[in-house]
């Protein structure tokens, strides 16, 4: 054994010892295979229940024909095969298909069409969407396709069941490949339901949103006229009283105050919204879920709607915009901040805990030093978003450059709007670049 006499003796490796050590390494080291310990399920717990379900879902022999016939009700055959995800997905897709077809049938009113056919409509709009899908013949074809899809689903399930049975007796890889069938068989058992449902869905959505390129071409003259005015900015509107520069300054100031106030709120809440900090004991876990629910409600309220509410309640001007932005950016930053907290190196938290530090110590010394640069970066990003929002909020009377644009629209001064637009673009780009530069420097 080495002797330790001098306490302050500098520690340095003994090279001779190092050399001798190299000879002592064990020869021919086979890395041991990891042994998986036999699973011993606990009794009367959730994990026991999960274990029993997993056991039940293990592959066992299925009758392929039964599975195929059960698919007459789409999804039921998969339940028989214990493929729950497939079952739910199939049921969902078929439900959608029935729904789309059902809607088409409800829309089909032949007798009214016949009545209105002759004189009454003064200015008939061309119906681009009437592709004859509602005619009885088309409907018969559509339902026939649906029937074929069910047959296809049956074939697919039959093959699936056969594959499952094959996996029971572990065979060679080539045998499993062979059991997957020929190209033609696989082509037949392709999931056509998804394709048909997606096509039908896209048609319906396009129709509902009046997607119509013809209308765009018809109105081309209008567009040319207004854009022509917009690209001739009126430079005189810049420095008038309550003119563009005044409103632009207001916009920037709204965004700064809104971001700062939001950051203060987010700083406090973000710790409550971080799963890794809160998920460790039941009380804090409840707090975590409450905060998360409030946040998701808050995120689903549009900022413009918030601004309208505040304009109505505290009056016209920049203040309602500040309030709306505070709430919006507090939510945004809480999400970003808490994600930064969730991404920290947990080892540092462990080290502080192991040294006897309490929960507040952990936050002060293990979390804050790690997340601070991210906080600053996310705050700058939030400021970028806020400057975009602040320019729009004026449209509902909440100050800023939007207010100017609103007034200009009412008095048909499109050249002034063009100038305001130019200023907004310059300010936003300037702030975007600055903030991106600073963020790149920090991280």
């Amino acid at each position: 054994m080495k002797e330790y006499t001098d306490k302050d003796e500098p520690v340095s490796p003994d090279m001779a010892k190092l050399e001798s050590r190299k000879l002592e390494t064990p020869e021919a080291f086979d890395p041991p295979m990891p042994t998986i310990p036999a699973y011993d399920p606990p009794v009367g717990t959730w994990s026991a229940l999960r274990h029993r379900l997993r056991e039940a879902g293990k592959p066992r022999y299925h009758n392929p024909i039964t599975a195929a016939f059960l698919q007459i009700i789409p999804g039921l055959g998969y339940v028989y095969l214990w493929r729950w995800a497939n079952a739910f997905l199939t049921a969902f897709l078929f439900l959608l298909a029935y729904l789309v077809l059902g809607l088409r049938i409800l829309q089909y009113k032949p007798e009214i069409k016949e009545l209105k056919a002759t004189p009454v409509q003064p200015n008939p709009e061309p119906d681009l969407w009437n592709w004859g899908l509602l005619e009885p013949a088309s409907l018969v074809i559509l339902w026939a396709i649906l029937g074929l899809l069910i047959v296809n689903l049956g074939i697919r399930t039959y093959q699936r069941a056969k594959l499952d049975n094959l996996n029971l007796q572990v065979k060679s890889l080539s045998e499993i490949r062979k059991a997957q069938g020929t190209f033609l068989q696989r082509l037949l058992s392709f999931n056509y339901v998804a394709v048909v449902v997606i096509i039908l869905g896209i048609l319906q959505v396009a129709k509902d949103s009046e997607f119509d390129l013809g209308r765009l071409l018809d109105k081309m003259d209008n567009i040319r006229k207004y854009v022509g005015e917009l690209i001739k900015p009126n430079w005189d509107a810049l420095f008038t009283e309550k003119g563009i520069m005044f409103r632009a300054r207001e916009t920037v100031e709204i965004s700064i105050i809104g971001t700062l106030a939001g950051a203060v709120v987010a700083l406090l809440i973000s710790f409550l919204a971080a799963r890794n900090l809160m998920g460790r004991n039941p009380i804090t876990n409840v707090a975590y879920y409450i905060v998360r629910i409030i946040l998701s409600i808050q995120r689903s309220i549009p900022t413009l709607f918030l601004a309208i509410v505040f304009v109505v309640s505290v009056g016209v001007g920049p203040f309602p915009a500040v309030l709306a932005l505070t709430i919006f950016s507090a939510g945004l930053m809480t999400k970003l901040f808490s994600e930064a907290i969730e991404a920290i190196d947990w080892g540092q938290v462990e080290a502080i805990t192991a040294a006897g530090g309490g929960p507040i110590h952990v936050v002060l010394f293990a979390v804050v030093p790690q997340v601070l640069p991210y906080y600053i970066s996310h705050m700058l990003y939030s400021w970028e978003v806020n400057i975009h929002s602040a320019s729009v909020l004026g449209l509902v009377g909440a100050g800023g450059i939007g207010q100017y644009v609103q007034d200009a629209i009412n008095t048909y001064k499109y050249s002034d709007i063009g100038m305001a637009l130019l200023v907004v673009i310059i300010i936003t780009m300037g702030i975007d670049f600055t903030s991106a530069y600073i963020r790149a420097k920090i991280l």
Partner: protein, 252 residues
């Protein structure tokens, strides 16, 4: 310090029927019974997933055991009570050093005093001159006092592990746990770090428990070797007794 070293021989850590089952059903520790004497240098060997880390983390309760008891210095450490008092007495160093990388070395070493901050110190700890003296003293003992005001992430791996040991020393612990302290270091630095641990064990009489992957290092430094396999204690004995047969038993 010397009085502590003279106590060597009395049992300090008593582990009785210790088991840990993780929520996913993995039985990481299976009925461990072991007794560790004051001032001993114990090395734990075993392949990955054998339960070494779980065992060491059960001692300072970073892992909550499912059943069984651990008695430290005559007090039961697996019951209720304030973990702060247990943890400031049981220091720990890690494979990844786990320094707070954006703080200075001195600030990191001062983290070792957090366990002594009660009352208002739990909300905002103030480090007084005694704490700073202790921290600088630990740094000096490890030969890195001149790095005190450098940010921790600018040090090399070996230096970072020395800072981590200084942090542990600043706790003035009676037990030192080391969870694979040399697994992310090169062989030469590994020896430096283990020499330091051995020296501290010798000079301060701090009981030291080290998880090691390298069998030759375990045989060289330890007073006693524990071998874990599949959550069970399969070997316990002097380093001289670690033969080829024991090696097969622990690793195969």
């Amino acid at each position: 310090m010397s009085s502590r070293a003279s106590d060597k021989g009395a049992p300090q850590i008593e582990v009785r029927n210790l088991s840990k089952v993780y929520p996913n059903g993995l039985r990481a520790l299976d009925n461990i019974n072991v007794s560790i004497k004051k001032g001993e240098f114990v090395a734990i060997i075993g392949s990955s997933g054998a339960g070494k880390s779980t065992f060491i983390r059960s001692i300072n309760r970073l892992v909550q055991p499912t059943s069984g008891t651990i008695t430290i210095n005559g007090k039961i450490a697996t019951g209720g009570g304030n973990l702060r008092y247990l943890r400031r007495d049981v220091a720990m160093i890690f494979q990844q050093f786990n320094l707070v990388k954006r703080l200075t070395v001195l600030r990191n070493v001062l983290m070792g005093r957090l366990g002594y901050k009660g009352g208002l110190g739990q909300i905002y700890p103030v480090f007084n001159s005694k704490d700073i003296d202790l921290a600088l003293n630990s740094l000096q003992r490890l030969g890195i006092a001149e790095k005190a005001y450098i940010r921790a992430d600018q040090l090399s791996g070996g230096q970072q592990q020395r800072v981590a040991i200084a942090r542990a020393l600043t706790q003035v612990p009676s037990i030192m746990l080391a969870d694979e302290p040399v697994a992310s270091l090169d062989p030469e630095t590994s020896i430096v770090v283990l020499d330091i641990l051995k020296r501290i064990n010798h000079e301060d009489g701090i009981t030291t428990i080290v998880n090691l992957h390298q069998l030759d290092l375990a045989k060289e430094y330890a007073d006693r070797v524990l071998g874990f396999k599949g959550g069970k204690l399969v070997f316990e004995g002097a380093p001289e007794d670690v033969t080829r047969e024991v090696y097969e038993r622990v690793y195969r």
